[in-house]
Symmetry: C2
Subunit: 343 residues, 2 copies
């Protein structure tokens, strides 16, 4: 271990040229003329010695780290919700293709003003992707206003933010249409999180709006909040179904919550879909294999992650420009957890 590092100096000596030449060959912009023969010789020497440039030195002089930061607002969500890994995968793959690295950083519960400063100011990263941002995160807003290269997976409703989100109106509209067509009129919801997470609020608003379009109303007491986990979904659904036993359809905030809803329904002796229809959100890979197979709204987390990464590369000048806000369109997937309303 700790055998002496090979530096560009060693390569230069072996190739019989100056260190400058080595640098120009291996990472020069081509603005300086070099004979093809010298080029070959240097590259050969580098290859022979197994030369890998020291990234710290490179960062120092260039100012770029070829690394992006990925901030997971509340990392404990990782434990229970399978959606984040999809996004992570998309981001990681896109970065790998660009030769970039991904630094994963969790934020604790504390959201003090300087939360991101350490990462940003230490120049460790060139840009940032923030997952599940919360409206009102001041540290985040200040970073946006400073103009730091930043992409949100989600939204904080800031005019200058760059973000990837999913529209909800059309798909939830279609889902409501589907459920209403099956005869349901008393519809409830179990969200995936407390208030403040924009996509929770957006999904709920879209549900309410779609119901109004059918002369229905989403009652306040027909909503209970989950907290990311299946267990929280089970508890919230139990509360909901005991308070409002007349409900015949429930929209779950996401598929993990839906697992809990299915479990709660079963525990209360309600058969799905005969007595109760359940609609999920996300279409995670396990959704078709639940009992019963879940009707849900498909969002493509991998794509969302990939696009977030591409938008960031664009801001860093490495890719074609994107519009500042990308909104993806999810899609209704019909399976077995929705059926005709009971009489």
């Amino acid at each position: 271990m700790s055998r002496p590092r090979i530096t560009s100096h060693d390569v230069a000596r072996r190739a019989g040229v100056s260190r400058t030449t080595v640098s120009l060959v291996l990472s020069g912009s081509g603005r300086v003329a070099l004979s093809p023969e010298t080029r070959k010789r240097v590259m050969r020497a580098a290859e022979d010695l197994g030369y890998k440039p020291n990234s710290a030195a490179r960062m120092l002089v260039s100012g770029n780290s070829e690394t992006i930061g990925l901030v997971v607002s509340d990392p404990s969500i990782l434990l229970v919700d399978a959606f984040i890994p999809q996004i992570l995968y998309g981001i990681e793959r896109a970065n790998r293709e660009m030769g970039f690295h991904v630094l994963v950083e969790g934020l604790g519960a504390e959201e003090r003003p300087g939360a991101y400063d350490h990462l940003v100011e230490s120049r460790r990263i060139d840009g940032l992707i923030v997952l599940n941002p919360r409206v009102g995160d001041e540290a985040l807003v200040s970073l946006i206003e400073k103009g730091f290269p930043l992409v949100l997976v989600g939204s904080v409703r800031h005019k200058d933010e760059v973000s990837v989100t999913f529209t909800t109106r059309a798909a939830i509209g279609a889902a409501v249409e589907h459920v209403v067509a099956l005869g349901h009129r008393r519809i409830g919801a179990v969200t995936f999180s407390p208030r403040g997470y924009t996509s929770r609020d957006a999904r709920l608003a879209a549900l309410g709006a779609a119901m109004v379009g059918h002369d229905l109303h989403l009652d306040e007491d027909a909503i209970t909040d989950g907290n990311f986990s299946a267990e929280s979904g089970h508890r919230a659904a139990t509360t909901l179904l005991e308070r409002r036993p007349d409900l015949t359809a429930v929209f779950a905030g996401n598929d993990t919550i839906a697992i809990g809803v299915l479990s709660a329904a079963r525990a209360l002796g309600r058969r799905v879909p005969e007595d109760l229809s359940v609609v999920g959100f996300d279409d995670l890979p396990f959704a078709p294999w639940l009992t019963p197979a879940l009707t849900t709204i498909r969002t493509d987390g991998v794509r969302q992650g990939t696009i977030a990464a591409e938008m960031l590369f664009a801001r860093l000048g490495h890719a074609a420009l994107h519009p500042p806000r990308v909104r993806l369109e999810p899609e209704l997937v019909l399976r077995r957890s929705t059926g005709p309303a009971p009489d």
Copy 2:
């Protein structure tokens, strides 16, 4: 944006001392004497200016990046298996506590000899944690033999490896005991992956051994291989149950696979647990909320990740020494998916 960076030079000027003094105050080993008053003044100046040391410069001179690499052997597993996020969470949290950063790197399908060299030789990371290593990964073995600080979450059965794994004998023994006590004698298995992943092989071997202890035999045709996803579990279980309709109990390679097994059983008209008992592995957060609630073997992924990180810190000299191989003991959790064997 891009306002001039604040360097230690600026802090020095403001505090009226030399740059050296600033460096000594903020990160010196205390071997040089400094008056308390100067200390205060420097710290005050740094605070006022919001000084954050440039990490690249620091890395360059110190040789440490305070970053560990986390290699996910096959990142697409992220998409379908919820166990990896548990480990990731544990690692991330431990690193955050130590002030370390985590660089996540996926390996493509290609496993050429120099797979890890880029990360290691570029000095971007101080140490490495490898998830789901595969026996026979030469690049990995060569890294181990070079003595690079490396911790495996899993094993490649190398004599010098440092690894965290789960024992399987006792817990699987208990599970077999439980199932046999319920009257089952024809037992099958659906693995979570093809051959070559050590924990697949270990779980299968432990199952076979435990069965022998009860004068039973795990037939070759009572085993089918899944491939991480619930879908693959469904397919493999369907094949298995059609080939061996006499089986009354099935061990699933993990809980995600178990989702598929439950789904397949239902599709074939086999009730769980009345007609078929199912045992999972991992006790993921959703396991209690499946239909029926899953009997499974609890492994603590977060703890595994935390310990892996601590072992690495130990190797880097930042923490107390660990034994080179830690084996955690999982625990049988009884729920509703196992019941008396049908007559």
